[in-house]
Symmetry: C2
Subunit: 189 residues, 2 copies
DNA sequence: GTCTATAGGATGATAGAC
DNA sequence: GTCTATCATCCTATAGAC
């Protein structure tokens, strides 16, 4: 799995364009133009447009899966696990917001096995998160609301954080983590 | 502003396709196929593909703007205003999830004045929401966290609710409102 | 590693018959 | 109101020269 410098450049440039306009609205010519070369030259480094999307989405999905597995299998309490998950999402948002945009918005344009394996990873991730919440409710650490409402409320905030962090990016990451954990866990009133 | 029955059918079918695949991945031929006619026939009812997107996104944006203006200018407390906003989002999610998907994911494919007026409505909406939160903090009704974190956390949950409601759609709307208001306002622990 | 040239197909939209 | 036929343009990708 060695990836050349040029290939990494292509993926990076493409991810920035995907973030703004979406996978389908970005052409190989757009990507090439940004790199100062012709579209045909891209094919010396990558197999095609699909490969760029697969790398972006699947690499990040694997990173989320690894992080979740580590946290889920730890000895922490449910609440502490959720705190760790929130912090993981914030760290990934700060360092990989472009790939996160592709994962959120363009995963449906994956094809074949790539699409299947993405959906499987996403479903596993949600199932792990759901189990942590349910353990917390059983535990009395977490209030007895509908677990799906809790899961959705936290996940949707974390998943779209990238949209907002770029605009309000001046906010210190540690302040963000502290306030975000507090708002999501303890509410606002 | 009279809209023919056929035109409404076209917009409805298109919105369902846009929701699944995104504006750019849906062709006029796809829309026509779903209606059992040829792509060229669509142009007797609509100006073009762009018009479908404009109607979907701008009509819904205007509905949000109206709802916000009514709530913001009421005599309710900041917390009560936020409750009303949450309920409004849930009602719109339940009745217009396809248009909501377009508003969330495809607004950037609007052009010219339509794009400008959408962005203006969206910014106004957020500014109104922000003011309500700040009034609540000044009021001591709402805890003194970073207002942007509170705003983002609530808005991102409400904006992506349509993604989740379709999957877990069996949940009763009133149960959803009750639990969602509680989770967002009072937290989970 | 980049180029030019081009294949082969999809796209949004129009003209004009029925 | 729908059709067939078609245009002009864009798209991803390949072949082969340099």
């Amino acid at each position: 799995m060695k990836v050349s410098v040029r290939k990494r450049e292509i993926i990076k440039v493409a991810s920035q364009l995907f973030k703004d306009k979406g996978y389908n609205a970005v052409s190989m010519r757009d990507i090439a133009l940004e790199l100062g070369i012709k579209a045909a030259s891209l094919y010396n480094h990558i197999e095609g447009k699909q490969e760029i999307l697969s790398i972006l989405v699947l690499d990040l999905a694997k990173e989320f899966t690894l992080g979740m597995n580590k946290i889920a299998s730890s000895e922490l309490s449910p609440t502490q696990k959720i705190e760790q998950l929130i912090e993981m999402h914030i760290d990934i948002t700060v360092t990989q917001s472009e790939a996160l945009a592709a994962l959120n918005n363009d995963w449906m344009h994956l094809e074949g096995e790539d699409l299947k394996s993405f959906i499987e990873m996403r479903d596993d991730y949600e199932e792990n998160f759901r189990s942590i919440i349910k353990a917390g409710i059983a535990n009395k650490e977490i209030k007895n609301y509908h677990p799906e409402v809790i899961l959705f409320s936290i996940l949707s905030t974390l998943r779209t954080l990238y949209l907002w962090y770029q605009k309000r990016g001046k906010l210190d990451v540690n302040v963000l983590k502290k306030d975000m954990v507090a708002v999501l866990l303890k509410g606002i009133i």
